[in-house]
């Protein structure tokens, strides 16, 4: 019936509009709640809704991600630009989050695409395409494995970077602490005298 097609199209059009206003944020800390995101983004946009992505397929410990629907498209653009040009940090330092424009396939409960044509084809042993299809299947499986390997590789890289940063941070912290101590308890004057340097207290 004509109306139902129109309905489907309208629904999809609404959905597309929603997609345009939504941004996808990842590299989020799992500790972050929707409240936090709302507060964080309040600087540049007002948040209509937050939907966290549940991980069903990646068998590693990955950062959280969320689809954040904003008020309108321009806000979405502003947010994405901001987070691309500056490191935007949500809940925990120093790793910034990443934001990009949402795409329809990110929404797990998206409506059916009105133009979708599903051609179903059964292939059995003996059909000329049987081997070909099986090879394609194997290819798909191999590609998936490759993808997972890359994911694993990335995650390990991240861990290393985190460790490095933590180490250097600890060192810096110790250094600054020490400096502070010395200034506080006056030892710095002794040191200055020892090294024949002039200290100007201002």
């Amino acid at each position: 019936m004509a109306t139902s097609d129109e309905q489907a199209e309208k629904e999809y059009a609404d959905f597309e509009a929603r997609v345009k206003r939504t941004i996808y944020i990842d590299h989020l800390s799992p500790l972050v709640t929707s409240q936090v995101i709302k507060a964080a983004l309040s600087q540049c946009a007002s948040v209509a809704s937050v939907e966290f992505i549940v991980n069903y397929t990646i068998q590693y410990d990955i950062p959280a991600a969320a689809l954040v629907e904003l008020e309108d498209e321009s806000q979405a653009k502003a947010a994405v630009d901001l987070m691309r040009d500056f490191p935007f940090i949500i809940g925990g330092m120093p790793r910034p989050v990443r934001a990009m424009h949402a795409k329809p396939e990110m929404f797990r409960d998206r409506p059916s695409w009105p133009g979708l044509k599903m051609e179903i084809h059964w292939v059995t042993e003996g059909d000329p395409e049987y081997d070909g299809m099986n090879k394609l299947k194997r290819l798909a499986k191999r590609q998936d494995a490759e993808n997972m390997a890359l994911v694993k590789n990335q995650l390990e890289e991240e861990k290393e970077l985190a460790m490095q940063q933590q180490e250097s941070l600890d060192e810096s912290y110790k250094k600054y602490n020490m400096l502070e101590d010395i200034v506080r308890n006056g030892k710095i004057d002794n040191l200055a005298r020892h090294y024949d340097m002039n200290l100007t207290h201002d």
Partner: protein, 512 residues
Amino acid sequence: MDGSSKNIQFSWGKRRSKGGAKMDTQFYGSFTFDNVKYSLYDCVYLFKHGEPEPYIGKILKIWEQNQAKKVKILWFFSPDEIRSYLSGPVMEKEIFLASGDGTGLADINPLEALAGKCTVVCISKDERNRQPTPREQAVADYIFYRFFDVGNCTLSDQVPEKIGGLEVNDLLNPKDEQVTSYTCQDVQGVDQKLGVGLVAPLPQSAVKMDNENLVTAVIPPMSDAIPLPPAVKEDDKAKAAAVSLPPAVKEDGKAKVAVAPLPPAVKEGVPKPTQNIPKRTEKDYSEKMPSKKLKLSQDLTSQSMAPVPDVKVRPGPLEPLTRQAVDRSKWFTPLPWDEELLAADEGGRLVYIQNLDIQFGASDIVELIHEALQQSCIARPINHPTYDDPNNGKAYAVFRSKKAADAAILKINSGLVVGGRPLYCSKGLLKVPKSSGALVGHLTITNQRMGQRQREEQKKAVSTSHCSQPNTIEYDLALDWMLVREKQTRKFSILHKKHKEERKSFAAKIGK
């Protein structure tokens, strides 16, 4: 999860006699439960906790005693239940009425165990049976003409004189043509109550039914009036579906909303567990529930009140009822989906499908399964936008029974190709590690000498967010991360592009 029985609408209908040893039993001729009107000799569905398929029965008696509302149900058997006693062909939608004496003939159940009405038409050529019109037969949910004697376990098409102490006349077709009471009045204005959920899917599903195989089976002139599949696909609420039907119905002039192509051959692949007849007695009937809510409700004996689940949980049991590709994906809100996954995995009903086109939405996948396998299921795409390869769409599909899931896996793996993509699938939930709690890369400062106030501030720091300023150490570190990330993104996009090219050239090579 009890105490919600107050929420389900109920009112008594026609009163009949009083009885019982202490004259404390009131018999009734009809009642309205959850906005559906039930009368004596109506055919109804009942669910058993844990069973995917409902039982079908006929109401023989209705009464209330000591605040408890009961119904006596005369059972119908499905072909699977009496498979070992069956020989010869079984008609489409055929069920068998219990007869004779013994266990398995009839049971007393709490009224709250009823899960809706259905139409069962008797097509026996016996003179006592009013012959149904072809249309009646076509639109009915089920038909019967044979009787299964529970005493000596024999099948017969001879109409017995009495069943369960009642004249058989009452049990055959009602004298006037059944104008099914699933009229729009019942259905409209009810939000998510059982009535709509139950009734609407019947017409909705009928309408959603894909034309090909099944409409051919449907003779009626109604087929023109039926708003065909596209109409119902998009409806978010069952209510809308019901509303879309009235126009069709009006054209026809009859209030017969129980439209057309119904249960038919969908029975394949979803066999009910064959049971011994004795099993039926002393059963606890409660709403079958995949979701947690009803699992919490405890066992009942047939004497006590069935814990009535929350109304909003009701859509669950309706799945098997419809047996059609009702757009159940629309009934799900995020929470029940996750619970559904766990429950389905436990029950062996969860299938993990891969290599789909990533454009397919949940309803597309449901439709795909339906078209390809004639099975109904709930499905959702589950790709992770950051990490999953967009060339390979993944989804979880939950089937109604373990057998259905197993059958589906076999069939899909044997060679289902959609749009040039061969699908493959496996059973069960992927093991995904639980999140470790903090993000890799969120650094902490180990510090013994923190003042109390500082410690508190640090705790609160999780909820502070800001744009990093260039004059801090944090800024440098953050930049490191951005660099790493940019590299990552590029690596992924290169890989995914490569995959895409590989697939294209491969497909070209095999000449598809």
